[in-house]
């Protein structure tokens, strides 16, 4: 895997750009540990100042330095996205692999559950969830909720790969070598499924960040923790655009767009790498 990564970095410009972008974003998010201002304090600096050398991204109407605030916001957003992706990948993998391998009743039961989750309308459910939880709403809970809604589509994808792997003879060889189902799934089948999982992870992170920003902008999350969406929410509350404080909206949006692009480039280049036909097409000669 390491060799593949290095090779991709050296020879695939899309992958390299994606890695560069994401590294920059991550670096930015890590700066939050060096912030001179705690994230929730307000009126620590003069409000409504445009970007300048002392305040690189300007200040907000609540008297917060946007640059340092954004480092926290991005960090929280990224962590949120990664946690959702991780939990939902795990769910998708377990359900997809087991369903594909077992077949029969187990497969049908799992896929019925799966299909139910696919058709659930996400947004209304999340809004409903907010209204039900209101005061007990926390990021962890929201992350768990979104992970539970985000595994279904990819589980089917993984299941179809698992189904085809089940019929291949090396699975039978594994069975006749005495390997348990768990061992076969993890050691024989997982390597085939991992590339798909990796690229869908990128998409999943994009999806969860997008959903989080949407919910936060509308105020359906915990608005006291700074995330990119919450930042935009507060900007809207203070009618920033009307008041001419464009940087309050511009910088969060810019950073989130850069994150999306970085993840997208990674996903696309990984996809291309997985597909052997396109790999051959790219080799000269």
């Amino acid at each position: 895997m390491g060799r593949v990564f290095i090779d991709l970095l050296r020879f695939n410009r899309q992958f390299a750009s994606g890695v560069v972008l994401l590294s920059a974003i991550t670096l930015f998010a890590l700066l939050s540990f060096f912030s001179p201002y705690p994230p929730n304090d307000s009126y620590v600096v003069p409000p409504d100042m445009p970007p300048s050398w002392s305040h690189l991204m300007g200040t907000t109407s609540r008297g917060q330095d946007l640059f340092w605030l954004l480092t926290f916001a991005l960090r929280n957003t990224l962590i949120f996205g990664i946690v959702v992706a991780a939990i939902s990948r795990l769910l998708a993998l377990v359900i997809g692999l087991v369903a594909g391998y077992s077949g029969g009743l187990v497969d049908r039961a799992l896929m019925s559950i799966n299909d139910t989750f696919i058709v659930i309308p996400l947004f209304p459910i999340l809004v409903l969830f907010y209204f039900v939880m209101k005061d007990h709403m926390s990021w962890g809970l929201l992350a768990l909720m979104m992970a539970c809604l985000g595994w279904a589509y990819d589980a089917r994808l993984i299941r179809s790969v698992a189904l085809s792997l089940r019929t291949r003879e090396f699975t039978e060889t594994g069975i006749f070598s005495g390997m348990s189902m768990r061992r076969i799934l993890v050691e024989e089948h997982l390597p085939y499924v991992l590339p798909i999982v990796f690229s869908t992870t990128m998409n999943n992170i994009n999806w969860s960040i997008g959903l989080e920003v949407t919910l936060s902008v509308l105020g359906f999350t915990d608005i006291n923790t700074p995330t990119v969406g919450v930042l935009i929410y507060w900007a809207n509350q203070h009618t920033a655009l009307v008041a001419g404080i464009w940087w309050w909206i511009f910088f969060p949006v810019l950073l989130v767009i850069l994150t999306f692009i970085g993840l997208f480039l990674l996903a696309v280049s990984m996809n291309e790498h997985i597909d052997p036909r396109s790999r051959l097409g790219r080799s000269e000669g």
């Binding site: 090779d7 050296r10 020879f11 790999r279 051959l280 790219r282 080799s283 000269e284 000669g285």
Partner: protein, 336 residues
């Protein structure tokens, strides 16, 4: 019989060199699939091309048919067909001319009939798609020609109305042969046409190929790893090993008295019905064409190998009339 030296050979391959060259992730790789191959197919004969896995015969056929796609590259040599009225250098000819020759002068019988027949259209459409333009008559006349052709090949005319999946594998392959021969081509390339078929069906399909060839007088290059098919069908036989042609001659001569150690071993190791004597296979494995052995590519497995074999590539020399081999020690190859 062709009068030797009076008619030009139907196909002349000279000094052909075709490699697969890839350059992925900074690693250059060169697979020497076809290395300095010379061969001629005379007009009206069935020339068999034999060899086992990774010997290069599939690549050779692709190169002859000009089905060359990257990463396959032709580095040297030429492939020339001498059709009745003109000469075609396959690698220098334009796309339009290639399209004209295909199916009318040069046609193919491939291994998978489903590679040729569109599974969602009736068989009749395949004939129309492939051959109508070449025959250049009206649709009605064309269908008459097709019907007569099928009749000659003992195929029921209602096979035209069937979908491919309604026909058995053997029947489909027969249809493919009919398709390949309806324009009365002068040269047919057959690439493992019976390999996937049952033995009973195979006999019928081979008989069909034999009779069609005799009737049309076409030249055929027949590629298969199955030596029994070569023994029973082909007039001349070429054996490939490690990307090179190692022996060539009349089929009867090659089987009766092979002059290359590989051929000798190959023929001796084939299982035969009615024979219970223990057979020995060759030790080792076919050479890796990305990194082939120096000199003669068979030397690591050859019982007669000497220092000369390791150093130099043996040239194809004529050891008997019409019988060539590439071996420095061909005189020491024991008769079977």
């Amino acid at each position: 019989m062709t009068a030797r030296g009076m008619t030009a050979p139907a196909l002349e391959v000279s000094g052909l060199r075709a490699y697969y060259r890839t350059s992925a992730f900074g690693i250059r790789r060169e697979v020497r699939a076809v290395d300095d191959v010379d061969l001629r197919v005379e007009a009206g004969e069935i020339y068999g091309l034999a060899g086992e896995s990774s010997c290069g015969k599939t690549t050779l056929i692709k190169t002859i048919a000009n089905a060359i796609q990257p990463p396959l590259e032709v580095l040297a040599g030429s492939v020339v067909f001498n059709f009745k009225d003109h000469r075609v250098d396959m690698h220098r000819v334009g796309r339009d001319e290639l399209r004209d020759i295909r199916w009318k002068r040069l046609s193919y019988i491939m291994q998978g009939s489903m590679n040729v027949l569109n599974p969602v259209r009736r068989v009749r459409h395949a004939f129309v798609d492939f051959a109508f333009r070449h025959i250049g008559k009206s649709k009605a006349e064309f269908l008459d020609i097709v019907g007569a052709h099928l009749h000659r090949l003992h195929l029921a005319p209602d096979v035209l109305e069937a979908y491919p999946h309604q026909l058995s594998g053997g029947m489909r392959q027969r249809v493919t042969i009919a398709l390949a021969t309806v324009c009365r081509p002068e040269f047919i390339i057959a690439d493992e046409p019976t390999t996937a078929l049952d033995v009973v069906v195979q006999k019928g399909v081979l008989a069909m190929i034999h009779s069609v060839q005799r009737e049309l007088g076409s030249s055929v290059i027949f590629v298969t790893h199955d030596m029994a098919v070569h023994a029973n069908l082909t007039d001349r036989l070429g054996i490939m090993y490690g990307g090179r042609l190692v022996e060539e001659g009349r089929t009867a001569d090659v089987f009766r008295r092979p002059r290359h150690p590989y051929t000798a071993h190959l023929i001796a190791s084939l299982p035969r019905l009615g024979d219970t004597a223990p057979k020995e296979g060759l030790t080792g494995a076919p050479p890796n064409l990305a990194d082939p052995p120096s000199g003669c590519r068979f030397h690591p497995r050859c019982p007669l190998a000497s220092d000369l074999c390791r150093r130099e590539v043996p040239p194809m020399t004529e050891v008997a009339p019409g019988h060539r081999t590439a071996c420095f020690h061909s005189d020491r190859v024991a008769p079977p």
